[in-house]
Subunit: 271 residues, 2 copies
Amino acid sequence: MTQIEAEASPPQADRTIQSVDRALSVLETIARRRGEVTLQQICEDLELNASTCHHILRTLMARNYVRPGTARGRYMLGSQIVMLAEAVNVKAELPGRAKPVMDELNRVTEEAVHLAVFDRDEMITLVKREARHALKVDSGSIGKSRAMHATATGKVLLSGMSEEEVRRLCTLHGMARFTVNTCTDPEALLAELEQDRARGFSEDREEFQLYVVCTGAAVRDPAGRIIASLSVSTPINRATEAHLGLVRREVMAAGRKLSLTSLDMSEVPSS
Amino acid sequence: MTQIEAEASPPQADRTIQSVDRALSVLETIARRRGEVTLQQICEDLELNASTCHHILRTLMARNYVRPGTARGRYMLGSQIVMLAEAVNVKAELPGRAKPVMDELNRVTEEAVHLAVFDRDEMITLVKREARHALKVDSGSIGKSRAMHATATGKVLLSGMSEEEVRRLCTLHGMARFTVNTCTDPEALLAELEQDRARGFSEDREEFQLYVVCTGAAVRDPAGRIIASLSVSTPINRATEAHLGLVRREVMAAGRKLSLTSLDMSEVPSS
DNA sequence: GGACCGATTTCATGATGTGAAATCCGCGCT
DNA sequence: AGCGCGGATTTCACATCATGAAATCGGTCC
């Protein structure tokens, strides 16, 4: 093989299998190029020998991860990838990806951060980060909650549901009053959800706990369905419009970051 | 390495890269097991050395195709797979997969078979198989068609759209009359589509061409959206209820076969 | 606390992936 | 048609790299 390798690639030789690593790169390159791709394009992008690249393509084609394109010598991603993707439990692997993003959100806002999902008619808080202030908000801990109608996290999840579903849940759980601000009318809640969908975030202004304002944003799957919600809890004394503006921007950005939408297109090829 | 290999695996040594092949098997095994999986389960299924398997997992984890599960020593599929899947152009790779299925449908029914998709407000027939009879039906060839309201293929595609979308297309293309049976009333068409959705297939009884009955079924993506339609064209003289029954069953089965839904679960693990 | 079970790492060995070169194949040009 | 070129395939000898036996680590259950 190449003996003039030397410093070509950084010396960070991880303990990974070269051929597998290259095969994954090939898949990602085809994905990045969108549509049908020639052998040459792939090996240019990856600086691979055409032969090596072809061996990899042959292997991927044998298992339907890659398919021949319409024209001769063209390649495209195959259906097997979609079948694999079907088996990815997005909710289950979300906490793992969420932690670093939540740490960052926690660092920037300095407030408590929560991640919750909806499962079997319940809202379940999966991950939590504490505020970086002496005055900590003790809003909902890890586990189930019946206060979807009164929390930002809950309203985000509700905003991804149909009107009937929301009504059903209101009836099922009831709409308990927690503070003078709690919304206990299904119609008012539905109207609020409509507004939330439009502006892209939900808010709880002392509806669940007095002196606490929460701001929530959605995490979506590739089809755009809401699979989880992310929220920031701010004590009322820090809840100035300026600070809330920052919080809204950051929580929405974090939600978008966790939403699975296509590959990182940062290095879009020239041709 | 193992020298007592010999007849362990069939001698069908394709020209594929062993390590890549194994890595793909690992991914599929995790997918097949649903949820979190231990190293041991994987190497049992694949009859791989635990160390080899671990090397592969390490590589896949470095690129987020696999993630550590909630418990220690557990593995699950990672989000990168979903990102790759986003880039699979299901419509573009469909014809390739469809051909063998259409050949089979053509063989079993002995009638002409068509595959069509909807793109930019038009129905486009992509692949076609001729009937295996002296009396051939010359229904629509490859390319665009403005007869969605009068063909089985078209009605299948329309049945995957909202009422507004269907109305918009009726207005846009008009509802030309081709035969005495052509449906030219949007309301009647919408009612028919409702029925088609319920029974799972669409039919064109001499609505586009006299003496020709067509039966169509949907091809869906993993989210259940209709991405293409498959149809069989039967000349009226062969269109007995018995034959049409066969045709309906077969075209629906073929449609299901082309729809991308999870992995082949044929070899479900015991534990 | 100790023994077991399984995950992880190490490391030497040679099987296996690699890439230079040869070949094939389709397409455009004369 | 025939030729020549650009790219995709295939071949094949070499040494790199994947491999798996064994050692180590790390939890968990007695």
